[in-house]
Symmetry: C2
Subunit: 356 residues, 2 copies
DNA sequence: CCAGACACCGTAAACGTTTACAGAAGCGTC
DNA sequence: GACGCTTCTGTAAACGTTTACGGTGTCTGG
């Protein structure tokens, strides 16, 4: 790890000034003779530009941060998968912040924008607090928020629409003749929980179906919580003929319980998940699931941010990405084989060298 | 985005020199009076340290790169999930490089180490070429390679052991009384493909089972390729009673085909996957799968790197992480309910605000 | 009352670039 | 040969920190 060569080292060796070296390296007009001397020297020394010094002067780091609660969560992952190549193609590196479910950490990350180690940031806040809004208002670099942010917040904003998403699913179930449609939701004090609950009510109303408290059970967004909730619901209302689940993990839990109870899916009970993760295609029966377009939201966010980074000075923009329903076996039955290439993962085995 | 305050701004406002400001901000001994003046000024101005300038001087960026082929791949993801918190706790940011399957990109990333925007790097190369070795030998910052690297390469090295992993699975199947155990492998010119093939032969040999070409089928590491390969194998050898699959996606494909062919799993054919991804727990029947310890490899790599970054000057170290077999329904049958909290994902619904 | 010790502080240099500016050299024109 | 013009190059300042060094002021002890 010997001290690497700098522009000065090159200048000495080539017998020119550091300014000339810099000019050559940046392709500014220079006499041919100088160019070749500098190039030769750089080559021989194995010179590589120091990104830090360059950033200090240029006030550009060519780095962008992506902050979300948990890298492990499939929804964030599919955003990441789209964000990464967009940024890379534009010459930006990606700095990852996984904040855990801790709001204070999110604020920290926003604060760290001031350190200027990134040119901008994409953030998916768990919930948007006063502190968030304050930090966003005074942020020293452009931020794009994935999720909803109040009118007037000076950041670009990419939204999902899970109310309409739930509506799509309920309409689908209704069209299949289901009339006693249960909802297995997550906590109501989370943004998605609240939105999905509201969507459910709305959808029933639009279809002229009565809203029935007994058909709704609240758990959490995990598989075992899903199992618990569905078991409860099933005991209370054995006549339920469809389950709208607030995410895919809950839906997997539902499949577990229904199978154990001897109910056929979808003949006896149809099941719909949400987020359309890889798990939906992997399960059996494969899960009909509402995609909230996390991939598209990721890509859009990245594009909005890049646009801002080109100095463009427009008013904050809001983009809402429409949900899509992916119909699979858990509602329509029939061994519809999962479509080829359906999942975005390459899933290739990862190298390991078989050592040892 | 007005020009933020610097150490100089603070110095002026507090009526002291920039050196004093720096000392206060770094907690070096200073008169109480000065401390409070500086702190007050910093507070009022909303000062945040400029990380770039600091890095230039200190030659430390507090960033670490993680480079792998594809963020979407579950095996890399579980590494990432472990690496991230380890680095974060040590005060490092994570820069993500997804190189695609392009070897040239991996070399580029290694080259970019010279730009000094990171203090070190963890890399999972697809395969290790001459060019890799050359770059690794001259790398200007510490690198930890996940995967095997030849003796004498001056980098720390964390290996999996998929040969033993395959052996574990075959032993398990053998203990269950299976004797016609097929292998559904990926391409043999990939490191994992070759290692898994070798492990299979070895394991059969150790158990005194004959190696039978007809029981082996080569496809690729995807679900639909798995389906194709298994269908072929099944047509050729309808008497097969177990399938060792080179990864979980292939195994899912196997489940699809077996189900369609009316074979019961595991009664007629037992199935084992590899990598023990989230999909293994989600599928039905849930998949017995060999974990190659990608989570542990990730964590180990992070720890090795941190250790190097503390100036420690030891010889290159090699750590081999042992495989583990997770037994589930696809080999033992019996509605073994997936264990609570089995998957590492939080799986919480992601916020969306239900806008629009 | 002075020497010396000590605590604190300011000046300036350094980290490795980019870039404004002015000087030098070459060349054509009158 | 003076002049202007063009083309190239070097000097130096700047980006925002950290830090070595020396200076100032205060205090202690003789």
């Amino acid at each position: 790890m010997a001290q690497g060569p700098t522009i000065t080292t090159i200048a000495k060796r080539a017998g020119v000034s550091i300014a000339s070296v810099s000019r050559v390296l940046n392709g500014l007009p220079t006499r041919q003779d100088t160019v070749s001397r500098v190039m030769a020297a750089a080559e021989e020394l194995g010179y590589v530009r120091n990104a830090v010094a360059r950033s200090l002067k240029s006030r550009r780091t060519h780095q962008v941060a992506f902050a979300m609660a948990d890298v492990g969560n499939p929804a964030y992952l599919s955003m990441l998968r789209e964000i990464q190549p967009v940024l890379k193609d534009a010459g930006y590196r990606l700095v990852l912040h996984s904040t855990g479910a801790v709001v204070a950490d999110e604020i920290d990350v926003l604060h760290s924008l001031g350190e200027r180690y990134v040119d901008g940031m994409i953030m998916v806040p768990l919930r948007v607090t006063e502190a968030h809004l304050e930090m966003l208002a005074t942020a020293r670099a452009p931020v794009v928020v994935i999720g909803s942010v109040p009118e007037g917040t000076p950041v670009d904003n990419v939204r999902a629409d899970s109310r309409t998403g739930v509506r799509l699913a309920i309409d689908h179930l209704h069209a299949l003749g289901r009339r006693r449609i249960g909802l297995v939701n997550g906590p109501l004090d989370t943004v998605p929980g609240a939105a999905r609950g509201a969507g459910y009510r709305e959808a029933l109303g639009a279809l002229g179906l009565p809203y029935d408290d007994e058909l709704v059970e609240i758990g959490d967004f995990y598989r075992d919580e899903g199992r618990r909730a569905v078991a409860t619901l099933l005991a209370r209302r054995p006549d339920v003929d469809a389950l709208m689940c607030a995410n895919d993990l809950i839906a997997l839990g539902a499949l577990d319980v229904l199978r154990a109870a001897g109910r056929r899916v979808p003949e006896d009970v149809a099941v719909v998940g949400m987020d359309d993760t890889d798990l939906a295609a992997a399960s059996w029966p494969s899960l009909t699931s509402v995609s909230l377009g996390s991939a598209e939201r990721g890509r859009t966010a990245a594009e909005l941010l890049l646009d801002r980074l080109q100095e463009s000075e427009h008013a904050p923009r809001v983009v809402t990405v429409p949900p899509r329903l992916t119909v699979r076996a858990s509602t329509t039955g029939g061994e519809a084989p999962p479509r080829v290439g359906e999942s975005g993962t390459t899933g290739s085995g990862e190298p390991d060298g078989g050592g040892g």
